[in-house]
């Protein structure tokens, strides 16, 4: 059933173009139906995989025999949570873009194409196929931002496309080298990731090819200092696209780095562990500090994504079970939480107030005008800060403990980053929702009507409430019972860690 997530999304994208241009509602309903059907396939397919099971092959046929590329889809405990994340984020994204009126069918066609590409990356177990889907996802992102975006959208879109493509070029070189060298060593031209992981690449080869592939993918995961596309891209994107960008697209990068770099080059990882950890920690602290001083509400969330993705990258290079499983869990958790934050800021606040300037929002008393948005944002912020009871807590604490074992100094600096994270979120909550205006300070409580009258904003609609509830429920459920996912993740991470410990003596 799982492969149908890909096919349904692409078929849906094509079918979207058949919807009559004037029926915006039909396009929305169709998009929702497609994403829901995708979610049904994802969850239904997930039931076929049992925690602890080895790789479950879904489809495996010859694709390009001349190259040795196969159409090979499979799941294990690492990509399954990410497929589920995509399913949830896709549904929520449609719910949060219920108000798109400009060329809605093109919007949802591109949206579904992007979703299809994301499912494809997560399910591929052939490096060429993975890379194929990875690049397929670039173009929908560009058009979604450039046509439906807001602030400096063409700049943001072009920057995002070029950064993604620069990352792809690095991966491309790395993959080529791996393909050629593996073919020379084994005599077999293959892109099968599980077969490539078994090839003992020479150490000096691993030393230069690992950083190429890792950094190439990590560009899309917001690795400092190549993260600058992320804030501008997120801010320029329409709500649903920024939810997907932060929610799942950044995970494509992290997942690729894990699957194609970390899992394949034990020697390479060991050699580059420290520099990457340093970059990841700088990303955590720098992202948090930058979020602290933003004037634009969406930029706060944009930089917070850079900061939180730093945890994922840090977890990937800890080379221990806790750190690695924490990284995967953090991918899932941040996908949900960032989606929620962007949904509140982009859809609930910006589409109504028509400004994201924190100074301007201060005067609007949004907590009274949009109580639902305020409550949702406070809860999402709590999740993002990593308070217990939300998924962010379990994920970040695992990464931190893992990092403590590998690089104690890094763990301490990261702790500082977490504190700054609390600070910038509180600042944003305060300014955007709970700012005390001058009228509140009047002693008699009789405010002048002209100022006290809150601006009349359209109430929060049902699709928004549904989407917010879906994401909130997910983060709380995982926060309370992380085993739901960890039962899948841990057994699949163990063999990877075993390889490093085995090779430790070399």
């Amino acid at each position: 059933m799982l492969p149908w997530t890909i096919y349904l999304s692409f078929l849906g994208a094509a079918a979207m173009l058949l919807v009559p241009a004037r029926h915006a509602q039909a396009a929305r309903v169709a998009a929702l139906a497609v994403t829901l059907a995708g979610a049904v396939c994802a969850f239904g397919g997930a039931a076929a995989y049992h925690p602890g099971q080895a790789l479950l092959t879904l489809t495996r046929v010859k694709w390009i025999p001349a190259l040795g590329a196969e159409y090979f889809l499979a799941v294990d405990g690492i990509n399954l949570p990410l497929v589920l994340l995509t399913a949830i984020a896709a549904v929520a994204g449609v719910l949060f873009s219920w108000n798109v009126t400009d060329r809605p069918r093109e919007f949802f066609a591109l949206y579904l194409a992007l979703i299809g590409g994301v499912y494809g990356v997560f399910l591929s177990f052939d490096a060429f196929l993975l890379f194929f889907f990875y690049e397929v996802a670039i173009i929908p992102k560009y058009f979604l931002i450039a046509i439906w975006g807001s602030t400096r959208r063409e700049y943001g879109a072009m920057k995002l496309a070029l950064y993604s493509f620069i990352g792809s070029a690095l991966v491309f070189i790395g993959l080529l080298a791996v393909y050629v060298v593996a073919a020379r060593q084994t005599g077999l031209a293959t892109f099968d990731l599980s077969a490539l992981a078994k090839v003992a690449f020479p150490a000096n080869f691993q030393h230069w090819v690992f950083p190429l592939i890792f950094v190439g993918f990590a560009v899309l995961a917001g690795l400092w200092p190549l993260h600058t596309w992320a804030p501008t891209g997120h801010v320029a994107a329409p709500t649903a696209a920024s939810m997907l960008l932060a929610g799942v697209v950044m995970k494509l990068g992290a997942y690729g780095a894990l699957r194609v770099a970390v899992a394949m080059f034990p020697e390479g990882v060991k050699a580059w562990q420290d520099p990457i950890a340093v970059l990841a920690v700088i990303g955590i602290v720098y992202g948090a500090l930058a979020a602290m001083v933003q004037k634009d509400f969406k930029f706060v969330i944009g930089y917070s994504s850079v900061s939180h993705m730093g945890f994922v990258l840090l977890g990937l290079v800890t080379l221990n079970e806790l750190g690695l499983s924490g990284a995967v869990l953090q991918m899932f958790s941040h996908g949900i939480i960032a989606g929620l934050l962007f949904g509140v800021v982009g859809r609930m606040v910006y589409d109504r107030a028509h400004t994201r300037d924190l100074e301007a929002l201060e005067g609007m008393r949004l907590s009274r005008v949009l109580p639902f948005a305020a409550v949702t944002f406070v809860l999402a912020s709590m999740a993002s800060m990593g308070l217990p009871g939300f998924s962010g807590f379990v994920a970040e604490i695992s990464v931190l403990i893992g990092a403590w074992q590998a690089f104690p100094a890094a763990a301490i600096v990261t702790g500082i980053g977490i504190v700054i994270g609390v600070a910038y979120l509180l600042r944003a909550i305060q300014k955007a929702f709970f700012a005390a205006t001058k009228t509140d300070a009047l002693p008699n409580g009789n405010a002048p009507a002209a100022i006290a009258e809150p601006p009349a904003l359209e109430p929060i609609s049902w699709p928004e409430r549904l989407g917010a509830a879906l994401l909130l429920a997910t983060t709380i459920v995982i926060g309370l019972r992380p085993q739901l996912l960890l039962d899948y993740i841990l057994p699949s991470v163990k063999p990877l860690v075993a390889v490093w410990q085995q090779g430790g003596g070399l």
Binding site: W63, I64, P65, A66, L67, T101, D102, R103, F128, F132, F133, E135, V136, I138, I139, Y142, F143, A146, I147, R153, E154, M158, A161, L162, F165, I166, A169, F172, I173, L176, A177, Y179, V180, V181, A183, R184
Partner: protein, 557 residues
Amino acid sequence: MNGTGYLHLLKLAAPEALVVLAALGALFVDVGVMREQGRRTRRLLGAAIATLGAFAAGLGLLNLHAYGTAMGGMFATDPLTQWTKVVVLALTGLTAILSVETDFTEHVGEYFALLLLATTGLMFMVSATDVLMVFLSLELTSLSLYSLAALNKASPRSAEAALKYFFFGALAAAFALYGFSLLYGIAGTTNLAGIAASVRGRGFDPLLAAAMLMVIVGFGFKVAAVPFHLWAPDAYQGAPTPAAALIASGSKVASFFLLGKVLTLALPENAGRAALGHFGAGWMPVLAVLALASMLLGNLAALAQHSLKRLLAYSAIAHAGTMLLGVLALAGAANRAEAYAALLFYAATYGLTTVGAFGVAAVAERLGEGDGIAGLTEVHPEDFVAPEPASSGAPACSRLEIQHVAPSPAQAQSRLQAGAPVSASGCTGLAGLARRSPWLAACLLVMMLSLAGLPPFAGFPAKFYVFAAALKVDATNLDLLWLAVVGLALSPVALYYYLKVLKQAYMVAPNGTEMRWKLRWPEALAIGLAAAGVLILGIAPGLLLDSLSEAIRAAGL
């Protein structure tokens, strides 16, 4: 040669003969019966004859599994040459269909005859195994293409294009001929395999080096590799669009195949080495330098272009760099079959894509602003009124970004007064294409992204295959990795300029009054076929690649 010899030759070269017959048919029907008819009717009939001729020849090739040589080894056929000729014929067919809607000449019959004669030359290039034959077929193609480029007699740019193409081409032909004569002087034979046999063990002396260099110069011109590319931008822009499409597609496929064949058949032991810092004398370092220069200059110069056809010219130079990498891959004897497959797959898919892109340019010229003939138009100041903001609620300011590529009304006015022409295929002509004709815009999107090497389009597997084949030349030291790195490092640059074209099509409002473009069926057919092919070959490259690998195996390479 006796009678049976001619019969044998005719059997082997039956497809070429069919194409020549079609050329003569198109010419005589047009001159003899059709003179009084409307030009479009004449073009329709000419295109029908040309397409039918190409189709019949293609069918003949598919059924003809002939291995054979004729005329004392001057002309050889095997499954691989047949495969390449089918590709060339398919590209010619598309070009002919595209020609129906481009009205640039009174000489319709001559146009289609020249188109088919150029194709005949290309087919002989593919089959040539003797330096004399190589030269003859090169000249047949080149002379036909020069005349095609000049056929738009009302346009000074067409004449300029043809003249530049001709001067550079003549010089390059002289170089190639001199190179061939030196090779003959060294080897005492004109047969490619014979040359290889007689220079075996000879080493790489200055005379051989001079001969090899001259030959490469000649081919470098043909494939528009830097520094022999100077004719390309003007020729692509000034020549009638369908003619430019053939120069860019079919001619590229045959030229690269022939270049690879000449080098591997005649000079297999003089490849040398092109590892960074370890250059060894031979043709590899020469080609590596040409490839490097082409990729650099092509991609960087394309950034500055404001006309789609000129942009395609520089992109063609950049792609020639990549295809030269494919020729370099032929140096490794162990994976030569794979390298041939990579090079030909790349050239074929590139040709298909570029025909489609020229098709879009042709439509933009026919329906776009201005009343000029293809290639030239004048700017009307009223074309530059600010478009109405879209009713959709998007901010109007960003819809006006046309300003930074298009001349402002004042500039346009002054240019108009100065009488300076502005190309109709300039990116402004494509502005708002998505609103004028969504399907045409979608086809343009397919072409541009395929040229950029993005999946799910044919450019992606082709790029990967060529680079992989190049790295396999020396899988231990990865000799050619540096060139692959340069090529891939430039790919974001390429994506930028292709996206700039798409930005015009999708994000900029149409000039002046918004109106839909109505495509006529021949151009829609040609562009649609190319786009569908590019998409299908991107998702399932095996459809073409399997037959290619099969042909290479059968040819015994």
